[in-house]
């Protein structure tokens, strides 16, 4: 068992991953279509699995790499419903990226076509470097430092520059005319 911890969370490799109570709770409890899983209780799982645990030792999320070829890997990323929007997903994605890098994998892939909240998940992935259509393959280059959005209240956009001096009039509220909105990068 290998461990790695950051921000109060611990990353633990599962040597013999099983479909157990924690996975039923976290993965089985996800919105419809989020994951395609059809395993029996106690069944051994294909792929490489890691658990994210909080300081109390409770599992709060899972990450998995399914390496179909030796160059890209499909990820599974699941966060317990009561721990979402607290950085657990970013923690898991960062760790999966690191695991992929040590395996010589160049691209991470994900597919969310059947996910009930796919637009939200698509935005979350795009901000973290994934590219691709919501109904197709999303992929990102492994090992690149993607800027994870900072937590907590952000400054209003208007405070970042002097709106009056903006020659193109690209102030908030005029995004569609401004041409500076990079939807792909989600940097408005």
């Amino acid at each position: 068992m290998t461990q790695d911890s950051a921000g109060g969370l611990t990353w633990t490799r599962e040597e013999r991953p099983l479909w157990d109570a924690d996975k039923v709770r976290i993965i089985g409890g996800a919105p419809a279509g989020a994951f395609v899983v059809s395993f029996a209780d106690g069944e051994e799982l294909p792929g490489e699995w890691w658990a994210a645990r909080d300081g109390g030792g409770d599992v709060v999320g899972y990450g998995r790499l399914d390496t179909t070829w030796g160059g890209d890997a499909e990820i599974l990323l699941a966060v317990a419903s009561d721990r979402q929007a607290r950085g657990v997903g970013s923690f898991i994605l960062d760790r999966l990226d690191g695991e992929a890098r040590t395996r010589g994998i160049n691209y991470l892939r994900n597919r969310i076509r059947e996910h009930a909240e796919r637009d939200t998940v698509h935005d979350w992935l795009v901000v973290r470097g994934f590219r691709g259509p919501v109904d197709g393959d999303l992929s990102r280059r492994v090992g690149v430092e993607w800027s994870t959005p900072t937590r907590g209240p952000s400054r209003p956009a208007a405070e970042r520059y002097d709106v009056a001096d903006d020659p193109a009039g690209q102030a908030p509220g005029h995004e569609e005319q401004g041409g500076y909105v990079d939807v792909d990068e989600h940097r408005y």
């Binding site: 490799r13 294909p46 490489e48 030796g70 040590t102």
Partner: protein, 492 residues
């Protein structure tokens, strides 16, 4: 269990000759002229391909090369040989003959008519399979672009260029499928196939081994033997696909791929032959000072290329691979000759893994272990070449032998990726690995010493000292045939 136990006899070859339309700008046997929109899209991609070829294709300037060009796809007379300027090679789109009665031979759609269009629910998966296959084709051309400058003979240089132009054609084959069946997304993926580059930091080729530098001709031969062989096996599984255009495309690509295997097999064999000759004459080990590649360095190169090529098969167990099979997208090697139900829902197999510092076995569902199934077929095939190379040592009266390292050696993907295993299959700790791995894998000094031997030999019929001449030439031509005419700036 051996391969022969699981498969029956080979099917009788069939299929009429199908002439390729060479009057078109893009040679093809898919009636491209009848689909003006597709034809225009491909004609728009063609100059980008040619720009890529000029920028990242073979660097050595040549006037023309004695190349094999496909002229038909039937079992007889499919290729024509002639001197051709490489940039004028007729890269085109050739599919194997259609079988109107073909049915899906495996998975949940087994017995249904093969698909002539892409089913919506499998669109993303099929496109991904085609993109990954397509990404490997130009990658090897990029990896090998400077090798012409150190070719050990004109004969070998011609073989390198033949491999390169055919990898270029295989890229065309995948791009045709993307353009013809996947709309705007397919066209965008086709563009990306020229934008990712081997070894590029920001945008590397997808598969790991296709980003390794091809440092010298021994590595080129090892690459064509081990890594191109992975391609052969992947094409063999796609040849079984329910998506008929993909199946027919890959079936024809396999014909051309056979030559690439030949280049690797005979290239290493001739290297071993020359080393064995020196060892026999000396009555001991050959060294770089003897002007040949020492046998232990050949073994190191073998260890490296075999292990990185094993990683190309992915992890032993993969949900995706099982889904591809059940959906009919990607079959097994020799699917139609397998003696089982071709659905595999109840089947299991044994799989090695490491626990408590030992290699153990466990039983896993067959559907989850199809990467391993394909890899096993590949390993059995790899062993054939090693036997052939060892025959050279035996013929020279030597006791030394080359061998395939253990499947767990130097692995970064799958069940062995978090462990260290010696070439003999012993599980070792990190300290032992750190102290021993330079005995097993080529060091920078090894690669430099091999590179120092790589002096170009451009005189017809002559060969560098480190490699033996082949027994015969290409297409019944003599070994000393003028296979390549160098441009004046290439000779200088």
């Amino acid at each position: 269990m051996t391969v022969d136990d699981r498969t029956g006899p080979a099917p009788v070859p069939s299929g009429p000759l199908s002439k390729i339309d060479y009057s078109e700008r893009i040679p093809n046997n898919v009636n491209l002229a009848d689909d003006r929109r597709l034809q225009r899209a491909l004609e728009g991609w063609q100059p980008k391909f040619l720009d890529w070829w000029k920028e990242l294709g073979p660097a050595l300037p040549t006037k023309d090369v004695y190349l094999r060009t496909a002229i038909a796809v039937g079992r007889d007379g499919w290729a024509h040989f002639d001197h051709v300027p490489m940039e004028e090679y007729r890269w085109g789109i050739f599919l194997a003959e259609a079988d109107p009665d073909r049915t899906v031979s495996f998975g949940k759609h087994k017995g249904q008519p093969a698909w002539q269009e892409v089913p919506g629910e499998h669109r993303a998966d099929l496109m991904r399979l085609i993109v990954v296959q397509g990404d490997t084709e130009p990658a090897s051309v990029e990896q090998q672009r400077v090798l012409g400058a150190t070719a050990p003979s004109i004969y070998d240089m011609r073989n390198l260029f033949q491999v390169n132009v055919e990898e270029g054609r295989h890229l065309w084959a995948m791009v045709y499928l993307l353009h013809a069946y996947f709309g705007r997304e397919g066209r965008e993926e086709a563009e990306q196939l020229l934008k990712r580059n081997s070894g590029d930091i920001d945008s590397p080729r997808i598969l790991g081994a296709f980003n390794e530098e091809t440092t010298d001709w021994l590595q080129f031969f090892m690459f064509t033997y081990f890594t191109d062989r992975d391609g052969k096996y992947q094409l063999g599984t796609l040849k079984e696909s329910a998506f008929d255009p993909l199946a027919r495309t890959c079936e024809f690509m396999l014909k051309e791929e056979a030559h690439h295997m030949f280049v690797g097999t005979t290239g290493v064999q001739r290297t071993v032959e020359r080393t064995a000759e020196v060892m026999k004459a000396k009555g001991g080990d050959a060294t770089f000072e003897d002007g040949v590649i020492p046998l232990d360095v050949i073994q190191k190169y073998l260890n490296f290329q075999f292990s990185v090529s094993m990683d190309l098969f992915g992890s032993e167990q993969s949900t995706n691979a099982g889904n591809y099979y059940s959906s009919g997208l990607k079959g097994r090697w020799q699917e139609t000759r397998r003696k089982d139900d071709h659905v595999l829902l109840e089947d299991t197999r044994e799989m090695n893994y490491i626990e408590d510092g030992e290699i153990k076995q466990k039983t896993v569902p067959m559907l989850s272990a199809l990467n391993l199934d394909l890899r096993d077929e590949y390993v059995a095939d790899c062993a054939n070449g090693v036997r052939r190379w060892n025959q050279e040592l035996e013929d020279a009266g030597l006791d030394e032998r080359l061998f395939l390292p253990h499947e767990g050696f130097n692995r970064r993907v799958g069940a062995y990726s978090t462990h260290h295993v010696s070439p003999e299959g012993e599980v070792i700790d990190a300290a032992t690995w750190d102290s021993k791995h330079t005995d097993w894998l080529p060091t920078a000094a090894d690669r430099q010493a091999v590179a120092d031997l790589m002096v170009p030999v451009y005189e017809y019929g002559k060969f560098a000292d480190w490699i033996a001449a082949p027994k015969t030439g290409i297409n019944d031509q003599p070994v000393e045939f003028d296979y390549v005419h160098l441009a004046e700036e290439g000779v200088a």
